[in-house]
């Protein structure tokens, strides 16, 4: 037993009375981060959205170099192989490893059904070549972006061989190549269309929300009228207006504008309701008292506070445009060949008997579904990330 008192623990370190107020570097990073950085951090945690975003970025990059990715050029016709079924890729021939190759196609006319039938010619091994240059098979040369001649491909068939991984169509054109080229049109329509609808939505919704009153009432009525039209019949009617004498490029522009012009009401409505609430805030009054013009107040003070939200909802409406173009072209009211989009490709699959005989003509459906899903997931992720309360 000892009488020594229990020792007190005393921290030797200097006491900082402001320790609760000063931030650790980590906290400081979080508190000082801009809104966009916060959004990025939140988005990064949403795995599905990140994967979809990467997928979309890859696809959009691919349309820059479609010519290189596709083994054939857009209009290459292999008249000996009409409606040829997809070739399967093999690795072993006769138990020997030869790497990825396809067998040659043997075409024979079935006189009973008056139809070409195709079978694998196992004696003809055609190795797939990679990073090949040279015009040594039909359809190898192309004009890069319609300007520079070239013949470099990521992969291509053997010399004077065939490589139809997804079969060929009515004119003997490679379906896979056409899908790769079709991405160019189908995807840009969505982007340009959303650009138009975004600008219109911002301007019109901004005016209605900021000024209110009469302008607001008129805009509200217009929105109501446009929204009460079922979109597809309206698109159909409007695209029937485009004169048949227009060149395919002009039709492309016309269809894009139609899709964009009818999409803005949703965005305008969102902008309007946010502006109506925000213009009563103190910072807005302050800006007004300091003599800022309406355009400056809307553009500099009001819009940025919900821009992230707007971008998220715009992302979510891109797929509907892609689907709209696909539907119109499928019906034959949209784009016309030689412009090739996924809808134009699917136009060939309109007839059920054709589809039953040549089901590979339906393959352009796959990228459509993938792209729409990816936009949906990515947009959902963006919206969650843009929402500060989640």
């Amino acid at each position: 037993m000892t009488d020594a008192p229990i020792e007190h623990y005393v921290n030797k370190a200097e006491f900082n009375p402001e320790s609760a107020v000063t931030l650790t570097p980590e906290q400081e990073r979080y508190y000082m981060a801009s809104q966009w950085r916060l959004m990025w951090w939140k988005l990064r945690r949403h795995r599905l959205a990140v994967i979809s975003g990467i997928f979309l970025a890859a696809i959009y990059l691919s349309i820059v170099i479609s010519e290189v990715l596709a083994p054939y050029n857009l209009h290459a016709r292999n008249t000996r192989y009409l409606y040829s079924p997809p070739q399967s890729v093999h690795l072993f021939d006769d138990g020997k490893f030869v790497g990825p190759f396809v067998y040659g196609i043997k075409a024979s006319l079935n006189l009973e059904r008056l139809q070409w039938t195709y079978s694998e010619d196992t004696s003809d091994v055609q190795k797939i070549r990679y990073l090949c240059v040279g015009d040594d098979y039909k359809g190898a040369s192309y004009l890069f972006w319609g300007l520079f001649p070239g013949s470099f491909h990521l992969f291509c068939p053997a010399k004077d061989g065939q490589l139809f991984l997804l079969g060929t169509d009515r004119l003997g054109r490679d379906v896979l190549s056409r899908i790769i080229y079709g991405a160019r049109i189908s995807l840009t329509i969505g982007l340009i269309g959303i650009g138009i609808s975004f600008t219109m939505g911002l301007t019109i919704g901004g005016l209605a929300g900021y000024y209110g009153g009469f302008i607001d009432a008129v805009v509200q009525r217009i929105i109501e009228v446009i929204r009460s039209f079922p979109s597809l019949p309206l698109w159909m009617a409007l695209s029937a207006i485009l004169p048949v004498t227009w060149s395919p490029i002009l039709v492309f522009a016309g269809i894009t504008v139609i899709l964009g012009m009818l999409d803005w009401p949703g965005l305008a409505r969102a902008v309007r309701s946010k502006l109506l609430a925000l213009r009563e805030e103190d910072f807005c009054t302050a800006a007004e008292l300091m003599g800022a013009k309406p355009s400056r107040i809307i553009g500099k003070h009001l819009l940025p506070s919900f821009m992230s939200h707007l971008i998220a909802s715009a992302t979510l409406s891109i797929p509907s445009m892609i689907l709209g173009e696909t539907a119109l072209s499928f019906l034959g009211l949209g784009l016309r060949p030689p412009i090739t989009s996924w809808g134009v490709l699917l136009n060939e699959a309109q007839n059920i008997s054709v589809v039953a005989l040549y089901p590979w003509l339906m393959y352009p459906v796959v990228p459509v579904i993938c792209i729409v899903l990816a936009f949906q997931f990515f947009g959902d992720g963006l919206r969650d990330a843009a929402d500060p309360y989640k």
Partner: protein, 332 residues
């Protein structure tokens, strides 16, 4: 309540007038008219065209009058059920259209019922059992339905039916009933064929509905009144149905305004693919051949259907939600 209904119906009238004007402009916009197209066609076939007859026809249908006057003739005709004249079929539009409007209506209506019936239980389930295997599976299928374009789904279904069962699933009734008068047998035949288009058109709307109901119900489930109700010992089923579900139902009904245009759009294109005797295929045809009054009355019919649908949903909402009924404010 009465005031609200009257006001809501009055608001509808200017909307319909603007829509009719818009429809008229749209059908007038294509360069040339049916007669020019018709004349070109005859000439290309090497037949002679009687200019006097053409002039007579143009006068007969008022093509020489100013635009505004033509519009008034057409719009007032609509009010008394005179939809104009179809040039392609050389018969009044109302005769050409026949059952098509009704069949369109039946298809759209059944689709909406189907959408509600399917999405309601699924939405509730995936909200209550959030992040369960069932929730994930159903959400996945919902997304897939959302992403697959209607007409492609129709095509794929048709292809599968064709290649696996060797049957064609197009049409809306057995061929022998095509021109027959309405009877019980014809009705049954229609019901037998109806499920394919309803299923196809319904998928995309169903997916959206499920997701919205799920989100709404989840919001309610996190609120304190629900926690209190559970804490006080209310059985889970009763606690769910009595309060949060009722709150989450509102947007469900209000959403018909969004759902209806979607369903009608879907119905238009799906019926072209499946060759249903509804408005879709004929609209496409009329647009392509510039049969303007036929196309115009279809567009007008589809838009009116949407406007009336929105009206019904607003009224139903007023019945359900006392705040709207008493306040008399807008539904949204």
């Amino acid at each position: 309540m009465f005031n609200y209904i009257v006001r809501r119906i009055l608001v509808m009238i200017p909307t319909l007038i603007v829509i009719s004007a818009l429809v008229f402009i749209i059908i007038q916009l294509p360069p040339g008219d049916y007669f020019t197209t018709y004349m070109n066609e005859l000439q290309s076939r090497g037949e002679k065209v009687d200019a006097a007859k053409l002039e007579f026809l143009k006068q007969q249908y008022g093509f020489d009058k100013p635009m505004i006057e033509q519009y008034f003739v057409w719009a007032t005709g609509l009010l008394v059920g005179d939809f104009g004249y179809s040039f392609e079929f050389s018969r009044p539009v109302s005769e050409v259209v026949g059952d098509r409007l009704w069949l369109s209506f039946i298809v759209s209506f059944t689709t909406i019922l189907f959408t509600w019936m399917v999405s309601f239980p699924i939405g509730v389930y995936s909200a209550v059992r959030q992040y369960s295997v069932g929730d994930y599976t159903l959400t996945f299928f919902g997304f897939l339905g959302l992403a697959t374009p209607n007409f492609l789904l129709a095509l794929i279904l048709q292809w599968m039916a064709f290649s696996y069962f060797g049957t064609s699933i197009g049409g809306l009734m057995d061929p022998q009933y095509m021109d027959a008068a309405w009877s019980v047998d014809k009705m049954l035949s229609v019901l037998e064929h109806l499920w394919v288009p309803v299923l196809v058109i319904g998928t995309s709307g169903t997916a959206g509905m499920i997701r919205r109901l799920r989100a709404n119900l989840l919001d309610e489930l996190h609120k304190q009144y629900y926690i209190t109700a559970k804490a006080k010992g209310l059985p889970p089923g009763k606690a769910l149905i009595k309060y949060p579900l009722r709150m989450a139902l509102n947007p469900f009904i209000a959403d018909i305004g969004n759902l209806l245009p979607e369903v009608i759009s879907g119905a238009a294109i799906v019926s072209i693919v499946l060759s249903l005797p509804t408005t879709g295929p004929m609209l496409l045809n009329a647009l392509q051949s510039q049969d303007m009054y036929l196309a115009g009355s279809f567009l007008m019919f589809l838009a009116t259907l949407t406007v009336i649908g929105t009206l019904i949903s607003d009224l139903a909402l007023a019945v359900l939600d006392p705040r709207i009924r008493i306040g008399g404010g807008a539904a949204k």
